[in-house]
Subunit: 343 residues, 2 copies
DNA sequence: GAAAGTTAGGAAAACGATTGCCTTCACCGT
DNA sequence: ACGGTGAAGGCAATCGTTTTCCTAACTTTC
């Protein structure tokens, strides 16, 4: 692996090229007035010595570190990854590096991370997490801007970028209505879970607006395939008639799909199915492939990062910013309507 | 969000507590000889000013940044996350912060990241990636230690920490043999994929050692459920008799499980099934739940981080370090053997 | 050929913290 | 009264870079 050669300093470069440190600095940064020949000589020396500028020393002078912290409130998971990647992408374009901190749902650990980040003089902080529920701010009057992504802050003056989950649910419903479904059930996650609440409420709203009543009251359970399978049993046991199920997650939807297949109801022929999250593993693994609501988490992360950059440059965008979801239509809703029964 | 109060410096603290900067530094670091009263006064002033030490300035003096870089060669994914988390965990315990860099399979981008990290004077670098195949080193004679995790370096002198995939496959086979299966098929990923090759070779080995021949030659395909489903069709079409399938991934295994169920073969009664990766979403979603090989990626990440820390402290561990996989037994292999047919 | 203007590059003061050395002072024993 | 001893804390160099002056040497120009 090497572990050779110590880091060259600008003084080494200056010495090798026979100029003063100040001049070397100017040469490398294309600043000041120097002969072209000198500039090249210095640059060549730098190249030769493998000179990499000491960013820490530079920051000392400029006050900027071109570094941001990213804190996940809970563990890094399926939802934080795309957010994180989107942010990393947008920040990388702005030459910024990212400190990744995993909060592990532990407030002490989180505060420790905040302190560390401040100590490292990050230019800003992005906070993200597994669920969209608002959370207490990570600190008050912090010396750097903070943007909450996916998750949001309870302080309305904080900048939060969140998916418009209700809007996403509306789109799912509109789609189901458009393909002629009228007996629509909703199977989702735990009742206390913010996303489950929001989406269920949105479903109720849209159905009411369409002059319909739900096929059944929303079924709250777990975010799992097992619950999806179980929920079908509950619907059947209750004698509910339904020609569509909108699920709070793709995993639930997949469970529903399997249970329906097991009892011989065809998807989408008899029952149209829509999931939420647009998680490829589920939408593709599901038979038939699953129509789903996409929260565009990567775009959300990118947007959050861009807002952070703007805030760092003096133009904060306080408040809660909801970003639209979109529907990705696949086989599970591909049939407009089937009269009765056909192969 | 605040964006208030500029950062206090040690000079502010010194001024507020009426001592010199040097003394303030000693007080805060419990160094030098100071009256207890003075020490407390300084610490109180620091608290009052929300003083957070400027880590960059400190590093300037100490030469250590307590920072490491983590580069994913490809995109951050299902395999890099646990590695990353394990590493973050181990490094956090050593007070180190992690720079996350996403290589996106782009060598240029990767080299840019290496440069940036060196410029930020990281104490070390961890390289990881989606696949276990060896890759070219990220640089030669770098001034800091590098550890490859999951992925490995083609340079045998580099330190690489990898899962013992062959060993994992052996464990899967041993388990299947132990529950009395003798007609074992292997369905796995693309033939050119390193993991697929290694695991398939290991299967062949173990079967030979047991004096058995494979139920069929290894079936190479994609890392998907669809391929798993399709593979069952191929086995049947070929007239292959088999009482167990060992799959190269949990996704493939799940596809196999579904296809078997569709044609009425019971798992594990008629066919025992073992996956690879121990990915909860698949092992739990699968019916029945799936026995799988766990590469313990988080532990691997932790181990890599510990080796990096050791290397930073002057005790490198060059070479390739294979870490054992272990088998997690679930329902898909829970029945020792079923004579013929029963509910 | 001298005054003025340009140019190239050097010297040194930051930036924020650490640390080795030095000074000051109090206290001690003789 | 005086030197010795320790403790407390100040001073200044240092880390690597940037940037603001400043100086010396050329060019112009009349």
């Amino acid at each position: 692996m090497g572990k050779t050669e110590r880091h060259a300093t600008i003084a080494d470069v200056a010495a090798l090229s026979g100029v003063s440190v100040g001049t070397a600095s100017k040469a490398l940064n294309d600043r000041g007035s120097l002969r072209e020949e000198t500039r090249m000589r210095v640059k060549e020396a730098a190249r030769q010595l493998n000179f990499e500028i000491n960013a820490g020393a530079r920051s000392l002078h400029s006050g900027r570190t071109y570094t941001v912290g990213m804190i996940t409130t809970d563990t890094i998971g399926r939802f934080s990854i795309p957010v994180l990647m989107g942010a990393e992408d947008a920040l990388g374009a702005g030459q910024m590096s990212v400190f990744l901190c995993d909060g592990r749902d532990d407030p002490i650990r989180e505060q420790y991370h905040v302190k560390t980040l401040l100590s490292r003089r990050v230019d800003g902080i992005i906070v993200t997490g597994r669920r969209t529920q608002a959370r207490a701010p990570i600190g008050s009057a912090l010396p750097v801007p903070v943007v909450y992504a996916f998750i949001s802050s309870t302080d309305p003056d904080d900048c939060s970028v969140v998916p418009d989950e209700a809007g996403g649910a509306h789109k799912a419903l509109d789609h189901l209505l458009a393909i002629g479904r009228t007996r629509i059930a909703h199977v989702t996650g735990p009742e206390h879970h913010h996303s489950a609440q929001v989406r269920a409420a949105a479903v109720g709203e849209r159905l009411a607006e369409a002059g319909l009543t739900p096929a059944a009251p929303p079924l709250f359970g777990a975010w799992s395939e097992a619950w999806g399978r179980q929920a079908v049993g509950i619907l059947l046991a209750g004698g509910t008639e339904f020609d569509a199920v909108f699920c709070g997650s793709d995993q639930i939807a997949r469970g529903v799909a399997e249970a329906l297949r097991a009892i011989g109801r065809r998807v989408p022929g008899d029952v149209a199915l829509v999931g939420f999250d647009n998680w490829d593993v589920m939408t593709e693994g599901c038979q038939p492939s699953l129509t789903s609501v996409d929260m565009n988490l990567e775009g959300l992360g990118r947007a959050a990062a861009e807002m952070l950059l703007a805030a760092i440059n003096g133009s904060p965008s306080p408040g809660r910013h909801a970003r639209p979801c979109h529907l990705v239509v696949r086989e599970s809703t591909s049939v407009p309507l089937v009269p009765s029964a056909s192969a």
